[in-house]
Symmetry: C2
Subunit: 329 residues, 2 copies
């Protein structure tokens, strides 16, 4: 029985969609525990009452300290206290990061936790890490992110001997900025299966098992991908509306469009791991629906089941061994 | 009569598609001049014979110096020599940048030329600058890129009083990396109409007139957008193939899909300006078709007609005035 703490007030569609998603995810093996105010309809789930809420535009670090009884902080603390095995929130990513650092804390040897998301690419899933936790990162951080991404790929996506690529602006070794050039040098001498650079144009194709990048670049790439899927399908729908032939095509293609979107859009299918902590943390999209929340909870449970945190601990140690002393500056 | 030098050997589909595109673009007002080896069929266009070629994987700076009689370098030099008013190449971006810096040279006061591309967003075009010339840039560079982007928006896209936004990982002022935070501070105190951050998820929506970013981030965002359009349409086509209903929908929607792709995909509709030089340079996509090359030549001619270089000279001077002395470090 895996206990997953769920922040009932996180996300644009809280609490209704959150509670519904938690209810959907509940099984004999998964027990969601809701953290939220009295008064919400917990639909028979365990409910820990909290008295405060962190809003999306609250300053992250300050609000985590100022609101210890918020649903988000209480849910995170439950993992630190051993009352839950993992935590899921669709609330502020910054607040989740701050609360996790403060209460769950980093694994020994980890410099910075990173957000790892599985991109459901056409030829199979790709782990993108860091998708947004660290706006500025050093080459050594990217090396560590790569090790964490490999553990995700092996344990959760069941990819054998995952290859690592570096997100850059050309496949050739000399293409990139100072950060990627320095990170590539570290990756080449590491114990990882490093296969060179990859470009953002092939993100949805699935040429790579693990794509490593800093959190700024990863977030830009991921949001460009999500936004383009939405804009393109909207534009296509609009264009089809302009003719009778198009209207008919639109009706006929609806199931296929829905299927493609469900398959390819990272936004629609769940959450991302915040890796490098002493507990399992899943961050769901702010716009998460009931289905996305249920999937995020299942992702969290899967991480516990596969002992991702324990595997990371050894993975990160391997990373620490493979870095040179100068990397510790 | 505007003379446009065209590198007949640049791009994956050279020389056939290049020559065809040049031929299509030729009018009473636009005279393309082909730079390429003897033996190509110039289709009645003026043809300057060259004896060498720069390949896509040649080292950029070295090959420009080592191959002064390559089609790319000769075409660029023709602008410096006053034999052409603008140059178009679908060859190596790095080589075009190197050749332009060497032969056409920067405008006074310009630190770094930048690639400006018009993204055909749903609500109207957006200028993205820098789309890939400078993998590493400083805050002061971004300020200058913004001024150049505004000139593009005003002169070529005919946007009145264009607003500038900074590409970042959240709309709130505090979201970003060190570069964007510092650049935002400069933009706020500048003479520009700065409207804060924008996210990559809205690139195709068209919320901004000018989006400024460093060349690494801009290139990542642009390629993610282009790649997602291609992957999504391919996936949709595949999905439609799986059922009879889908096959019919696919047939019926073909014109609409083509129209949407033509409208939204930057790759299909021409070139990008390399701005900040003493002459007009247009870089076309490596995969440019005949149509894209013709559009790139028209874009070059339009830049000459609207005196973009002359306007940039005054725009950049305005930028220099609005930066603080510390920006000159």
């Amino acid at each position: 029985m895996i206990r997953v703490a769920v922040d009932a007030l996180g996300g644009d569609r809280a609490p209704e969609e959150i509670v519904s998603g938690a209810s959907d995810a509940a099984t004999d093996a998964i027990r969601p525990i809701l953290y939220g105010p009295p008064g919400i309809d917990a639909r028979g789930l365990e409910h820990v009452e909290t008295s405060d809420v962190i809003e999306m535009d609250d300053p992250a670090v300050e609000s985590v300290r100022a609101k210890p009884d918020s649903s988000l902080v209480r849910a995170v603390r439950s993992v630190a206290a051993g009352e839950a095995d993992a935590v899921v929130s669709a609330g502020s990513t910054g607040a989740m990061l701050a609360a996790s650092l403060l209460h769950i804390r980093r694994l020994p040897g980890v410099r910075r936790p990173a957000i790892a998301v599985a991109i459901p690419a056409r030829r199979g899933p790709t782990v993108l890490i860091d998708a947004g936790a660290n706006a500025d990162a050093r080459p050594e951080d990217l090396l560590q992110f790569a090790h964490m991404g490999v553990v995700f790929a092996e344990e959760i996506l069941e990819i054998e001997e995952p290859q690592v690529r570096l997100l850059s602006i050309g496949e050739e070794d000399e293409k990139g900025n100072q950060l990627t050039l320095d990170a590539a040098a570290l990756l080449r001498t590491s114990t990882l299966r490093f296969a060179g650079n990859t470009e953002s144009r092939s993100l949805l194709e699935g040429d790579s098992d693990v794509i490593v990048t800093d959190g700024f670049t990863g977030n830009i790439a991921l949001k460009a991908l999500e936004g383009t899927i939405r804009s393109l399908l909207d534009a296509l729908r609009e264009e089809l509306e302009t003719s009778l032939r198009g209207k008919l095509a639109g009706l006929l293609m609806r199931p296929a469009a829905r299927q493609v979107r469900r398959r390819l859009d990272p936004e629609t299918y769940g959450g991302a791991y915040l890796l490098g902590l002493r507990g399992l943390v899943v961050i769901a999209h702010g716009s998460s629906s009931r289905v996305a929340i249920a999937n995020a909870i299942r992702l969290a449970a899967r991480g516990v089941e596969h002992e991702v945190v324990e595997r990371l601990e050894s993975g990160v140690l391997a990373s620490a061994r493979s870095t040179t002393p100068t990397a510790e500056r």
